[in-house]
């Protein structure tokens, strides 16, 4: 095969389709949104760019700030849960046998083969007050009641007055449950790839030198997987911050996140300029996060280079 690297004509010919596509359908629309964010509605359908900062100022209203704060909080809690749940799984996959590994990875990827909307509706069925989760809890409660009766302890009334179903839909817990579910594969895969590259004898060397399992995890395993963990945290947090469907369906409109407010501006409220301003603020927040990541990497490599 001919060597095509470094040839300008080949570079342009091969990158042109992507370049044109992204310009037309990403850069241009984003530019329009950016212009809108400095605009005002003059008629119902016409927006004029007046370079007003009102739209951005409105974001500072307590109501919106509270929503943004909640979005960050929900995304943060979901990310933390994802890391704690995902890390052990990533470790299991990374240390699994050659035979088991592709199957475990397949299990992680499987949800992507089903439509998100359908999966979220299925979650509704599980999390509802009369959903499957409460069915299980009710069953457990009844068994416990029977057990209590068997021991003759009814008088103590240890179990309360009766089974109260767990309310998850329309609560932050339900939304977090949904976000964790959707995000988990994105958390597991970067950590897995960091652990996969690690030489197993490093962990053995640590044990050989007198460290216990926990010390080895703290001193060797986690520090060496750190770049994967940071990537996982960011790749989990950013989409979680922009979640729309999960708060919409599992939050029942009571646990709105930023994306739900944006949607409302573009639809019911017909306030595109304000919607654009919030969207772009979310984008800026994302940029700041990514910049922090680069600073972290730079600082780390500098520190390691000097030592």
């Amino acid at each position: 095969m001919q060597d095509i690297s470094g040839k300008k004509s080949v570079f342009f010919a091969f990158s042109a389709p992507t370049f044109i596509w992204l310009t037309l359908f990403f850069v241009v629309p984003l530019g329009i949104i950016w212009l809108y964010s400095f605009g005002e509605n003059v008629t119902i359908t016409k927006i004029e760019t007046t370079w007003t900062l009102d739209n951005y100022r409105r974001i500072l209203e307590p109501e919106i700030l509270q929503l943004i704060g909640r979005s960050f909080w929900l995304a943060f809690v979901s990310t933390v849960i994802c890391l704690f749940v995902g890390f052990p799984m990533a470790l299991v996959i990374a240390t699994a046998s050659f035979k088991a590994k592709p199957w475990l990875l397949l299990l992680i990827m499987l949800p992507f083969w089903t439509n998100l909307l359908i999966r979220t509706y299925a979650l509704l069925n599980i999390l509802g007050t009369r959903g499957r989760l409460n069915d299980v809890l009710r069953w457990l409660y009844e068994r416990a009641e029977q057990f209590q009766a068997m021991l003759g302890l009814e008088r103590l009334n240890l179990l309360g007055d009766g089974f109260t179903p767990l309310t998850l839909l329309g609560t932050p817990a339900g939304v977090i449950y949904g976000i964790v579910y959707v995000s988990l594969p994105f958390t597991i895969l970067p950590i897995y790839s960091a652990l996969e590259r690690m030489d197993n004898s490093l962990l053995e060397a640590s044990m050989d030198l007198g460290a216990g399992q926990l010390q080895t995890a703290r001193n060797i395993l986690i520090p060496l997987a750190m770049s994967g963990i940071v990537t996982a945290a960011i790749i989990t947090f950013i989409p979680a911050l922009g979640q729309f469907l999960t708060p919409d369906l599992l939050g029942r409109g009571q646990v709105d996140m930023i994306a739900n407010v944006i949607e409302r501006q573009f639809k019911k409220a017909n306030d595109w300029p304000f919607g654009s301003a919030i969207s772009l603020t979310l984008l800026y927040a994302t940029f700041i996060l990514l910049a922090l990541r680069s600073f972290y990497d730079a600082a780390r490599s500098k520190r390691e280079g000097r030592m």
Binding site: A205, D208, L224
Partner: protein
């Protein structure tokens, strides 16, 4: 009589249905360099991992200074290991790598500093203490791994293929240095290697393993001069082996019937590991061998007191101090002889089809069973 430090007693290790080690018993002496030698897959690495504690035996027990340590986890054994990949922690500098084991022991900071400095000096890395592993060469990384293990003052140091990742020149230097280091610190070394030259050059004693069984434990010189069987003889150095077809008892000893050499009278007791069949029809599992350095070649018929075989001169390989000549026998086999370079120079090339005689004294021959019963 020296003291036994590690005692391996009847160790069997199974992975599923595969027996990686079969009933191995070895006593390793205090202060010696002991090599576990064998081809890949012989179980030597498994044995090392058993001693370090990363694997536990299916049967048998491990004693350290006479105390059972079979159930002790690796971090509780006063035994340290230099891994084949060195396993130097990439996120720590040299000093922190070496200090790691002492920190785990909760040694006071001041003492850690002193001991790390001494250990780095021992491996000539004092000027590299602040370097990160990726700023070190392979040889330097190995020294870090050595210092990191020795600073713990282990009773036994395990080395897994310590020289295999180094280039040839560094390998020879490091071989010598490891031996010197061992002499100065006095710690017992157990070295795993597949390279017989490495084991011969470094070890006080060598255990030869083959497919999970122990074939022989002896000093390098003993292994070379008196191998237990044809496998060991072939593995330790090079050898020309001839299959013995029949053995019959004669007045003065035994007569060996060999297709290629005719009948050879063997004037001493054959080894007890060779069973002499009652009937001459029965198959004999023995070989008669001679090492290439004992074989001479000549273009004339050799003297009667020599064992000789006729063939065609094949390729001659120049080795530096000497040359190795290939003698192609008429049955298609080849044997080799180490000859002086002077002689090699006057011999014609292989294409000349020169008829020659390879010959040697019977005193230099080894009568060995094909396979001795495992120890």
């Amino acid at each position: 009589m020296t003291d036994t430090i590690v005692s391996i007693r009847g160790i069997t290790k199974r992975f599923g249905s595969v027996e990686a080690l079969k009933n191995i018993s070895i006593d390793i002496q205090q202060g010696e360099i002991f090599a576990l030698l064998g081809p890949s897959g012989c179980g030597k690495s498994t044995l090392l991992r058993l001693i370090s504690g990363f694997e536990s035996p299916s049967e048998g027990e491990l004693l350290l200074d006479g105390n059972d340590m079979t159930a002790l986890p690796p971090n509780k054994r006063p035994i340290n290991m230099v891994f084949q990949s060195y396993a130097v922690f990439p996120h720590m500098n040299v000093e922190d790598n070496v200090a790691y084991g002492l920190k785990m022991e909760k040694v006071p900071a001041k003492e850690i500093k002193e001991r790390v400095a001494i250990a780095l000096e021992q491996v000539h890395l004092s000027n590299f203490s602040q370097r990160k592993p990726d700023q070190l060469s392979g040889g330097q990384r190995q020294r870090v791994a050595l210092a990191r293990a020795l600073v713990k003052r282990p009773r036994v140091l395990l080395l897994d293929e310590p020289l295999s990742a180094l280039d040839a020149k560094l390998r020879d230097a490091m071989r010598l240095e490891l031996v010197k280091l061992q002499e100065s610190v006095g710690v017992t070394f157990i070295i795993v290697t597949h390279d017989q030259a490495e084991a011969m050059a470094m070890a006080d004693r060598i255990a030869v393993l083959e497919s999970g069984t122990l074939r022989q434990v002896a000093s390098p010189a003993e292994l070379y001069a008196h191998p237990a069987d044809a496998f060991v003889a072939d593995f330790i150095g090079n050898i020309n082996a001839f299959d013995v077809q029949q053995i019959s008892t004669i007045d003065t000893g035994v007569a060996l019937h060999i297709d290629e050499l005719g009948v050879i009278e063997w004037f001493s007791e054959p080894p007890s590991t060779i069973s002499i069949p009652a009937s001459s029809e029965d198959k004999v599992e023995a070989t008669l061998s001679v090492r290439p350095e004992h074989v001479s070649i000549s273009t004339t018929i050799p003297a009667n007191d020599q064992v000789s075989i006729e063939g065609t001169l094949g390729d001659i390989a120049f080795q530096g101090q000497h040359s190795i000549a290939e003698i192609r026998l008429d049955n298609g086999r080849s044997i080799s002889a180490i000859i002086a370079n002077d002689q090699a120079l006057i011999l014609p090339g292989a294409n000349k089809q020169l008829r020659i005689w390879a010959h040697w004294s019977i005193n230099n021959m080894l009568l060995l069973p094909k396979k001795a019963p495992p120890l």
